[in-house]
Symmetry: C2
Subunit: 222 residues, 2 copies
C-alpha cells in the first residue's frame, strides 16, 4: 500500500472536532437532554474555545445539537414522534432516489452497489452491529450518489446522522438484519432490472419495515 499520502484536504482541527463530537453523540456518550459545557469539552477534546464553538455551530446546523443563546448547547431528546417524521422523509427521499437510480445508474456504480450489498450480507452473518450500520449506510450512499440529483443526496446526508442513530438500535433486533438484507436485495434487483416502479416500491417497503423495527426496539427499551 505504501505511503497512502493522498490527503485531499488537510483535515482541520475544526473538522476533527465535529467528527469526534458527532461520534460521541452517536455512541450515546452524551445523554439526550444533557447540556454540553464548552470549557469541559475544550479540555476533553484538547481544542480551544473558538475552534470548539465553530464545531458546535456546524453540529447545530446538522440538528445534532441545539444552541440556546446564553444557555449553551445541548443534545436534544429525540422523541418517537420526531423519529417517525424522519422515517417518513426517508421514505420519500429514498424511494425517489431508488426510482431514479433504476433509470440512470452506471454499470460501475451498479457493480459497487452489489459489492456493498455483499458486504452487508457478510456483516449480517457475522452479527457485527457496527459493520451492519456502516455497510447499510454505504448501500444507500451509492444509491443517492447515483440517482443523478446531487441536491437529493445532500438533503439525505443531512438526515443521515439521525438515521444512523436508529439503524443501530433496530439492527440489534433478532432477525432484523436478515430481513433487511432481503429488502435491500429487492431494491438492488429492481435497480439492476431497470425497473423504477419496482425500485420505488422496494425502497418504500424497506423503510416501512425499518420503521416498524425501530418502533419495537424503542418500546422494548434501548
Amino acid at each position: 500500500m505504501s505511503e497512502m499520502n493522498l490527503r485531499v484536504s488537510p483535515r482541520t482541527v475544526q473538522q476533527g472536532t465535529v467528527d469526534k463530537l458527532r461520534m460521541a453523540i452517536f455512541t450515546g456518550l452524551f445523554q439526550p437532554g444533557s447540556r454540553l459545557v464548552e470549557s469541559q469539552l475544550c479540555t476533553q477534546l484538547g481544542v480551544s474555545r473558538p475552534s470548539l464553538r465553530e464545531a458546535l455551530r456546524s453540529l447545530e446546523a446538522e440538528r445534532l445539537i441545539e444552541i440556546v443563546p446564553n444557555k449553551g448547547p445541548s443534545v436534544p431528546a429525540l422523541s418517537w414522534e420526531r423519529a417517525m417524521a424522519i422515517y417518513e422523509v426517508r421514505e420519500l427521499l429514498e424511494a425517489e432516489a431508488a426510482g431514479r437510480c433504476a433509470l440512470r445508474i452506471s454499470p460501475e456504480d451498479l457493480q459497487a452497489l452489489e459489492a456493498s450489498l455483499n458486504a452487508f450480507e457478510a456483516a449480517a452473518a457475522s452479527h457485527d452491529g457496527m459493520a451492519q450500520v456502516t455497510t447499510a449506510a454505504d448501500f444507500y450512499a451509492i444509491i443517492l450518489a447515483s440517482c443523478g440529483n446531487p441536491v437529493l443526496e445532500e438533503v439525505h446526508r443531512g438526515l443521515l446522522a439521525r438515521i444512523s442513530f436508529f439503524r443501530g438500535r433496530s439492527m440489534s433486533l433478532e432477525g432484523r438484519a436478515q430481513n433487511s438484507l432481503r429488502e435491500m436485495r429487492d431494491i438492488f434487483e429492481a435497480i439492476a432490472a431497470r425497473d423504477p416502479k419496482a425500485a420505488r416500491k422496494a425502497a418504500k417497503r424497506h423503510v416501512l419495515r425499518a420503521r416498524a423495527a425501530a418502533k419495537i426496539a424503542m418500546e422494548t427499551g434501548t
Copy 2:
C-alpha cells in the same frame, strides 16, 4: 399595541451576522464565485473574527457558501444543473406537504393560508417583486408547517434560501406572477376541498412551471 417587548431570544451578534450575510448573498451583493475575505467582512459588518467565523460555519451548513481549508469561504456559482436539481427536490417535498396538508390542516391554518394567498395577490397586482417573494414564501411556509411533519418542514427550510434566490429572478418575468397566483390558488382550493391527490398535482404543476419560468429568466440573462 403598547410595548411589544416579547423578545423571545435576544438576537446575538452571530445570528445578526448570519442574517446580514444571507441577505447580502440574496441581493447579489457578493458575486457568485467571489471569495469572501474574513478581515474585510469583519470591518464591514463590525464584528470580530471569531463571531464572523461562527456565522460562516452556519452559512456553510446552509450551503450558501463553501469553505475550503486554507483558501477561505466563497459564494459557489449556482449552475443551472444544480438549480434544476433543487427544483426537483422542491417538487418532491412540496407535493408531499400539500398532499398531507389536505388531510390534516386545521381551520385556523387554512384561514391563514387564504390570507397569505390574498397577500400574494396584492403583491402581484402592485408589481412589488420583493413582496411577491416574501408572500409566496409565507404561503409555502404555512403549508409546510401544517403538513404534520416537522422534519419535512425543516428540510424544506434548508432549501428555502436557494429557492428564494430563483423566485426573485423568475417573478420578474412578465405575467409570471399572475400565473403563479393561479397555480397557488389551485393548490389552496385543493387543500380546502380536502383533496390530497389534487393538492399534490397542483403543487407539482406549480413547481414545474416555476422551473420553466426560471429557465427562461436565466437564459435571457439576469
